[in-house]
Amino acid sequence: MKPQILKQDDIKKLLPENIDNLFFSDADYSMFSERFLTREGFNGFKKWLTFCGIDNRGGQNQYWKRNYDCDNLAESFKTYMNLLHARANPLTFTESFKSGKHNDTTAQGVAVGVIYFEIKAKKTSSHHAINIAITRGLRNELVPIFIEPNAAGKIKLTKKERESIWYVNF
């Protein structure tokens, strides 16, 4: 068994159509299990934030701060998951070539991205940043899941919210 690798087109097929701003910064991606993304990995992320001095203040704000808000938390989650991926696959191409040893996967990144979407209330609307990750669901199918990095973990978006996604960056 070896880590499955997705290409950009594999991910595109799983996203809502007509997203105005869709970016890929790597050519291919491995995936973490949903359990890891929402449990062990998520717990590590929260500890890492605390280690960096971003404390959970409880209440509604949790890890949110005026100068470290939703976009910063979502970017951090994406970066943290890619850090774990890089730590798990430490050999450079040259090291691998010289030693004859290989990393578990050659994937450039892990399929965790940042999304922005619109939250509409009766008279107001605002924009919010969270994470999207590609993983395998209960029936072993490829699925996008949404993760609120501000302590909540896996969340569901409404149909309207999914349709309002205007920025995705993997």
Binding site: M1, P3, Q4, M31, F32, G41, G44, D104
Partner: protein, 39 residues
């Protein structure tokens, strides 16, 4: 062995323990490797 015991008794965390807590080993989605038929 003694070191491990002392660490447990006094709840001492060294750098390796802290790194393990902060950076858990990821669980990847895996697939079967294709079998190459060389016959």
């Amino acid at each position: 062995m003694v070191r491990k015991l002392l660490k447990k008794i006094f709840k001492i965390k060294d750098e390796e323990d802290i790194q393990d807590e902060l950076f858990p080993k990821p669980m990847y989605i895996t697939v079967e490797e294709p079998v190459v038929d060389e016959s």
